[in-house]
């Protein structure tokens, strides 16, 4: 009997606890330790910070922290590295529960979600108090970290997709360089595919992973003059003629022209890279970060890079992507975290820190990029970059696009039906 009593008491206790913690979370988001923005005698600040960084920065960050410590010897920085798989979920959970690092290196796409969840610090006061100049950042970088008019991150890395092509396969088919439009690209891809009896395909596009698939679809929609949402993010525009034209080609490359590997529905971008590196496809779209990986697969592969083709008559636009650092809203050392963020986003340091390109316009002609022919074209593409919509529903929108385009790729619905259904579903969540 006693055990029963104890059990029922615990049950009731847990119930009450559940309700309390649910209601209690009402005010949690607002409890931030703002540093107020003004930093007096920054060199004398003493603090211990933790930086959560991406695993691919493992070789670079420690050296940069040493440089940081030359300037700020009393700020000790512990760096922890994480792989990209599950990174955004981990960061979001940690930021909202207050268990994250002080400073985090994040993909610009996540900033609006983190900011809306009140997990990261609004940097407006720091920017104002320190007269911090934001004008040297690319527009795409600045817009990408601005949520409802406030800046939430300091960008350091910028990139956009270009097209990688196999120089020899193109030459065998009679072409010396990448064409400017998709309309010209399709016959080239067909020729390469036909010449090899289908052993080698014209282009790899992903259709089996939501992030990569939606990203490349959006890239093509932008190159067609379309967009996902209208300017004030109140309405979905995927049912526009331009967006449907792009989605149609995305599907046709596979179903009609047969110039995409059969494995499209299983492939992510990494699989496309492997296919390209092994010479099984003649082209694929990606960013500068893939160059070394391709060279790792086949060091002798002759590849070229160029801009993603546009659709006939459309203006050139691509997705502006990048990485920034954000400060946890619950950090005890916001001033020291700001100093580190500012340091990592500074012009010369950002060139070192970024595994692709710097988010600074003034660094566009940096020797690191200008000396590499593969990088020049990809660096050129950055000026055409537009950030993805800066709203927290972005991942949900991309998930919807992915599910619909998959149905079109598997032939169950047409590309037009897919875009119209996606529009209806997205309008519902806006």
């Amino acid at each position: 009997m006693k055990v029963k009593k104890v059990l029922s008491m615990m049950l009731a206790g847990a119930c009450v606890l559940g309700m309390l913690s649910g209601c209690g979370s009402k005010d949690d988001g607002g409890q931030t330790q703002q540093g107020g923005g003004t930093i007096e005698n920054p060199e004398e600040i003493s603090a211990e910070l933790t930086l959560w960084d991406a695993s691919w920065n493992e070789n670079v960050t420690p050296g940069l922290i040493e440089k940081f410590n030359e300037k700020y010897p009393n700020i000790k920085v512990n760096v922890e590295f994480f792989p990209s798989d599950g990174m955004s979920d981990k960061y979001l959970t940690a930021l909202t529960s207050g268990s994250s690092a002080d400073l985090l290196s994040v993909n610009n796409e996540w900033v609006s979600t983190f900011a809306t969840a009140k997990g990261i610090l609004n940097l407006d006061e720091y920017i104002k108090a320190n007269d911090y100049d934001m004008s040297d950042f690319y527009d795409g970088a600045r817009e990408g970290v601005t949520v409802n008019g406030s800046v939430y991150a300091l960008p350091y890395r910028a990139e956009t997709h270009g097209m990688f092509y196999n120089v020899e396969l193109f030459k065998d088919a009679g072409y010396d360089e990448l064409p400017d439009t998709w309309e010209e690209f399709v016959p080239i891809a067909q020729k390469i595919t036909e010449k090899s009896n289908g052993e080698i395909k014209g282009i790899a596009i992903p259709g089996g992973e939501w992030g990569n698939t939606s990203y490349q679809l959006i890239n093509m929609i932008l190159c067609s003059g379309g967009s996902i949402l209208n300017e004030d993010y109140t309405e979905c525009t995927l049912d526009s003629e331009e967006a449907i034209r792009a989605a149609q080609l995305f599907v046709d490359l596979y179903r009609k022209y047969n110039v995409v590997p059969e494995s499209i529905m299983e492939n992510d971008n990494a699989a496309g890279r492997t296919l390209f590196g092994e010479g099984k496809v003649a082209a694929f779209m990606s960013g500068a970060y893939d160059i070394s990986a391709i060279q790792g697969i086949d060091p002798d592969l002759k590849m070229g890079t160029g801009l993603v083709p546009v659709f006939d008559g459309a203006e050139r636009h691509t997705i502006f992507a990048g990485w920034s650092t954000v400060i946890s809203a619950k950090t005890k050392n916001p001033d020291a975290a700001w100093l580190l963020a500012e340091f990592l986003a500074s012009p010369e340091i950002s060139v070192e820190y970024s595994t692709t390109f710097s988010a600074r316009k003034s660094m566009a002609d940096n020797e690191k990029y200008a000396s590499d022919p593969l990088l020049i074209n990809l660096s050129d593409a950055i000026q055409y970059g537009n950030p993805l919509p800066v709203i927290p529903q972005l991942s949900q929108i991309r998930q919807i696009m992915y599910e619909q385009i998959q149905l079109a790729l598997s032939g169950e619905i047409t590309a037009e039906e897919a875009m119209k259904e996606a529009t209806a579903q997205i309008n519902e969540i806006l």
Partner: protein, 296 residues
């Protein structure tokens, strides 16, 4: 020291289990009740307020196409996974229990490998084996002439769920084998011999002597497999991600998407509660059947 009274001793029992109870309460009971209470509220990560909506989320989910599809897939996924896991495990156990089979120890070890391997690693390996361009499975099937060209195992609507069921079966049948083989060893040799002397053939011997001994184990195994498969997430998450479209989306995958892609915790909690109720039904049957056996 002398114990003063029997009553005292009786009370101390509750105190002994209290630490364990507290742990269970914190790590299991609290999340469960928290989840159930959350299912009556509208709650997303962007909105710190809990808005009470009663049963509205249940009604919306149960009448929505996506959830119904996930529910249907869960039934197909669970039924066929358990069916094949059990049948293959059962047959292997019967074969391996024959003394005629040589090197039984080695066979047992080899068969146990899939079960010992972490689910995530097994799924990743299978994902590559299934791949239409690099996959070894298509290569073998084409070479021995079973198929003409590579099949999109995890990339087609028709095959995605079947492919996941194959992996789940591969992973779990060794466990069935282990349970049933252990149970087979408890069948008294003398009874089998007596049946043979009485003129029973192989099938009759199995029906009258072996089956009554292993039936309770089989029931337990099927119930356990059902409970585990209902909750299984790794295989589908790694192999198909619920796709293409939502063709292989089961409840656990649906919950994951609602919570971690859409950040709609209220909805995810509602779906979790529905899954909890389904699992609880099977668990109750399981507990009753095992407890019932002891009382007899």
């Amino acid at each position: 020291m002398k114990i003063k009274s029997g009553k005292h001793l009786k009370n101390s029992g509750a105190l002994f289990i209290l630490p364990a109870l507290l742990v269970v309460a914190v790590v299991m009971l609290f999340p469960l009740l928290y989840n159930i209470s959350l299912s009556f509220f509208e709650k997303t990560i962007y909105n710190p307020d809990w808005t009470f909506v009663g049963l509205e989320q249940y009604q919306k989910l149960l009448t929505g196409k996506t959830f119904q599809n996930a529910l249907k897939n869960t039934v197909v996924w669970t039924f066929f996974s358990v069916l094949f896991q059990f049948l293959i495990g059962f047959v292997c156990a019967l074969v391996l229990s024959q003394e005629r089979v040589r090197f039984r120890g080695i066979w047992r070890c080899l068969i146990m490998l899939p079960w010992v391997l972490p689910a995530i690693i097994g799924s990743m390996v299978w994902k590559w084996m299934y791949h239409s361009d690099f996959g070894i499975l298509n290569e073998i099937l084409v070479r021995i002439g079973i198929i003409d060209s590579a099949l999109p195992w995890i990339g087609s609507k028709e095959l995605a769920l079947i492919s996941a069921i194959i992996v789940n079966t591969w992973k779990m049948f060794p466990l069935v084998l282990m349970y049933i083989e252990a149970s087979l060893q408890s069948v008294p040799r003398s009874l089998q011999d007596a049946a043979v002397v009485d003129g029973a053939n192989g099938w009759e011997c199995f029906k009258v002597v072996t089956w009554p001994h292993i039936a309770p184990t089989c029931k337990t195994v099927v119930l356990l497999l059902t409970i585990w498969t209902l909750n299984a997430f790794t295989f589908i998450f790694v192999l198909t991600g619920g796709g293409p479209g939502t063709s292989s989306q089961v409840l656990s995958m649906f919950i994951n998407k609602e919570a971690f892609t859409n950040y709609n915790f209220g909805n995810a909690a509602t779906a979790s509660t529905i899954l909890f109720i389904i699992v609880a039904i099977f668990s109750t049957i399981y507990i009753r059947s095992t407890m019932g056996g002891e009382e007899k």
